[in-house]
């Protein structure tokens, strides 16, 4: 899932300073699962903002809404009426949702309430950790399922480096060395020889180095951004 966390309250309050009729929009997908932007967080943040404005002596009217997904047209269009009635939107979806809503409802102002952080897994209640860098050319088959791009602090593709000590990374004793994890996994799979295969220089054009990426599943693709 996409993991995000709330921006500092000071920044949020500053970003909505001139707005007295605000829409506060959450998303019931990834950010709800990571407890940052679902229905509960919308209610809590709206309440906090109202209290802050009461304290400041400038009341604010907030319309709360939660979309099933903030990244697809059929869900985003459900916000149209709220957009009409308000002066701006604080959006606690991920950056994709914020950007897409700003695009759909331009020039209406959509303000991010979260910092979108990583693609991760839930390790327990309320604990999430990064696992994938979204590089566009997955190499997990060669590393036993451990992503060196994200889990190695240096993102090196032929590790470990000299900073790997007692199975941990030199930057923190609490952080396992990704290349130690890769070695352990390949050994457990009986693939020790694969560890010694040199990974070639990575082509980062599949990541963000070649501009925004686009996917069209040809058999069903209908691009709504193109003229009919």
């Amino acid at each position: 899932m996409i993991v995000a966390h709330r921006k500092p309250m000071e920044e949020i309050l500053r970003s909505i300073e001139g707005i007295d009729k605000l829409a506060l929009c959450g998303c019931n997908s990834c950010v709800a699962v990571c407890l940052s932007g679902g229905e509960r967080e919308v209610r809590i943040l709206a309440s906090q903002i109202r209290i802050a404005r009461q304290e400041a002596g400038r009341l604010i009217e907030i319309e709360e809404l939660v979309l099933e997904r903030s990244c697809e047209p059929e869900f985003v269009e459900k916000a149209a009426e709220v957009v009409q009635r308000t002066d701006g939107m604080l959006n606690i979806s991920c950056g994709v949702g914020v950007g897409y809503m700003a695009e759909v409802y331009a020039p209406y102002r959509v303000i991010p309430g979260l910092n979108t952080t990583f693609y991760g897994v839930g390790l327990g209640e309320g604990v999430f950790e990064e696992r994938c860098g979204g590089c566009g050319d997955c190499l997990l088959d060669r590393t036993g399922g451990v992503c060196p791009i994200i889990r190695c602090a240096k993102s090196i593709l032929n590790g470990p480096c000299g900073g790997s000590q007692d199975g941990n990374c030199e930057i923190s004793k609490d952080m396992p060395c990704a290349w130690q994890l890769i070695w352990d996994r390949l050994r457990d799979q009986g693939r020790e020889e694969d560890f010694h295969v040199v990974e070639p220089v990575k082509d980062w054009r599949t990541a963000t180095a070649a501009g925004p990426r686009r996917l069209a599943q040809e058999e069903i693709a209908v691009d709504r951004t193109e003229p009919a």
Binding site: M9, R43, Q48, I51
Partner: protein
């Protein structure tokens, strides 16, 4: 105004035993103190409460086993959220038995008033 979310197995019973009901107290009975969520605490402050109490069973005798622990964590979170926005309101969790109106009176700052009969704390 003080708002008290009172567990039906403890705090609500205590409130019922108070000799004098404080004028500025709004009591809300809940199935368990642990059921009170952060949003309930914030909404109470939004509606004018300067003090919000969560009255739960004492640890070890909670019918929901860990109601007090859950309430404490939510109260801590609510206080942090209120502090963030500069609110002077405060939220508190108190473990209390149903037969302790004297303790409740002290919590409410009503300690100088007489407690009702059967008060084990008074």
């Amino acid at each position: 105004m003080t708002v008290a979310f009172a567990c039906k197995n403890s705090g609500a019973g205590t409130l019922g035993r108070m000799a004098i009901e404080p004028e500025d107290l709004k009591a809300i009975e809940v199935p368990c103190g642990g059921r009170v969520d952060v949003i309930h605490l914030l909404r109470a402050v939004e509606q004018g409460a300067q003090r919000v109490l969560v009255l739960t069973c004492r640890p070890g005798v909670c019918r929901s086993i860990e109601g007090y622990c859950h309430a404490e964590r939510k109260v801590a979170r609510a206080n942090a959220l209120l502090q963030e926005v500069g609110s002077s309101a405060r939220v508190e969790a108190h473990a209390i038995a149903a037969n302790e109106p004297g303790l409740l009176a002290r919590i409410l700052g009503e300690g100088d008033r007489p407690a009702a009969e059967g008060d084990t704390e008074g």
